[in-house]
């Protein structure tokens, strides 16, 4: 049985696992954005926090993913279900690109523009919402893109702790020494990553033109 025949025969399961995979990576990226973007904003406001926050996110990034899943396994509530645990771990990995890009995006706004805004009497909040965030949005979306692609790739490993997703096929194929089954997981996962990269890349370029309108 070749790869395509395997996909056709199991299309139901391929679809289910793909949807599961999208949910894992999507919720994790959303969570990472909900925490990472505010943290990135915070460290532009309180510079002395920037080193510890970025350092912390960096350290998380260096933990091997399988080890991180293992660490979180005994955690109450979170460890009870593979899906929850995988989402938390993936979100932790997504933090660094989001914090870093939000920080870099805001720091990269032309200081003369920011000063003009301040001199016109914009409050800190108005300056952030009307000037800094819109002008940083291209760089922030680039961070979302990195986090999303990272999550989609790492989510394949989440099958090791019973979180489901396309990793199921990969691990099953490895156990069965069957390349068709491995590819049934690997190819859709790679396509998902490429699709996310392409779609977010387009959004990023669109927002990036805001800044070049100088």
């Amino acid at each position: 049985m070749n790869f395509l025949q395997f996909m056709m025969a199991n299309h139901r399961q391929v679809l289910d696992l793909t949807l599961e995979h999208i949910t894992l990576a999507g919720v994790a990226t959303l969570l990472a954005a909900l925490v990472g973007i505010p943290l990135g904003i915070l460290i532009t406001r309180v510079p002395r926090l920037s080193k510890p926050v970025l350092g912390g996110a960096n350290i998380i990034q260096t933990i091997p993913s399988l080890a991180l899943f293992g660490f979180l396994l005994p955690a109450p509530w979170i460890g009870a279900r593979g899906g929850r645990l995988a989402i938390l771990a993936l979100a932790l990995y997504g933090l660094l690109p989001l914090i870093r890009n939000t920080y870099a995006g805001i720091q990269g706004v032309d200081p003369a523009i920011v000063e003009a805004g301040r001199a016109m009497g914009l409050t800190d909040r108005q300056l952030l919402m009307q000037v800094e965030l819109p002008l940083a949005s291209g760089v922030i979306v680039a961070g979302v893109r990195i986090a999303a692609v990272l999550s989609i790739g790492l989510a394949t490993i989440a099958a090791a702790i019973g979180a489901g997703g396309l990793g199921e096929f990969i691990f099953r194929g490895l156990a069965m020494v069957n390349n068709q089954v491995i590819l049934a997981g690997a190819i859709p996962a790679a396509l998902l990553a490429l699709l996310a990269d392409f779609a977010l890349g387009r959004l990023e370029r669109r927002l990036g033109t805001l800044r070049s309108r100088t």
């Binding site: 523009i113 000063e115 009497g121 409050t123 009307q130 000037v131 805001l210 070049s212 309108r213 100088t214």
Partner: protein, 260 residues
């Protein structure tokens, strides 16, 4: 905000006063014991080379900086006692190349201060159109972005934006510095005409002596964070001060701007 003790002085006193104001950054003095006052409706030009303390002086007025010693008073009240947001919204600020927000259209750029001051929509719209006419721009430009304008147009929008909420004080930092000589000369003349009509208190920073002589009621020459001379524009060329002489010398190859 503390209420000023003497309202009489508020109404008739100088618009801006520097009272032995100094500013140091990391121990390095950028401005030393500046004593200077600007009358209401007067145009004061701060002249000097780069690093002489002109921009620092401007930033002390709208409280982008606070003096490290001495004080700066706007309308008789110390800038330290002003609510910075209120203070800044009562002072129009124009910088080189306009300092426009690149992601806002011309209309939104000009309307920004009225908008955050919660003016009604209709009033903002009519004000924006009025200002465009004031600075000599066509209404076709309203929906353009700053990158779609020429340098001169951007600068005009910058002036319109600063005037939007009708602030009594206007400060300009090398406002026309990025323009080509012809546009620059046009802008200078138009600005002078505008100023004679509006009678705002204007502080204009430049390193260009001709621009200073053309626009100023009074010229304050600065060097190394100190005020060197503070003279009525007509007396400036007659001053014997060596630094003034050096300035006149540097520009002496050029025709007298008063005759242009």
């Amino acid at each position: 905000m503390t209420a000023p003790s003497n309202p009489e002085r508020i109404n008739n006193g100088p618009a801006i006063e520097f009272d032995r104001a100094s500013f140091r950054l990391n121990g390095r003095p950028l401005l030393n014991d500046l004593v200077l006052s600007v009358k209401r409706g007067e145009t004061l030009v701060l002249l000097g080379r780069s690093g002489s303390g002109k921009t620092t002086t401007l930033k002390l007025i709208n409280r982008l900086l606070l003096p490290t010693s001495g004080e700066v008073r706007v309308n008789g009240q110390r800038t330290a006692d002003w609510d910075p947001i209120r203070l800044r919204r009562s002072i129009g600020y124009v910088i080189q190349d306009g300092g426009l927000f690149p992601h806002f259209t011309v209309e939104r750029n000009i309307a920004l201060v009225p908008q955050i001051e919660n003016w009604p929509r209709a009033r903002i719209e009519s004000r924006v159109r009025e200002l465009l006419a004031t600075v000599g721009l066509s209404e076709d430009l309203l929906s353009r972005y700053p990158s779609q304008l020429s340098g001169g147009q951007r600068q005009r929008v910058g002036v319109a934006r600063a005037l939007a909420a009708d602030p009594p004080i206007l400060i300009l930092d090398e406002a026309f510095g990025a323009l080509d000589p012809i546009t620059r000369s046009e802008m200078q003349k138009e600005f002078r005409a505008l100023q004679q009509r509006m009678k705002k208190t204007v502080i204009f920073v430049t390193h260009d002596l001709r621009e200073a002589l053309l626009l100023a009621d009074r010229i304050a020459l600065m060097e190394d964070g100190r005020l060197v001379v503070n003279l009525v524009s007509a007396e400036f060329s007659r001053s014997g001060d060596p630094l003034v002489r050096a300035y006149l010398e540097a520009f002496s190859g050029l025709p007298d701007p008063k005759q242009s």
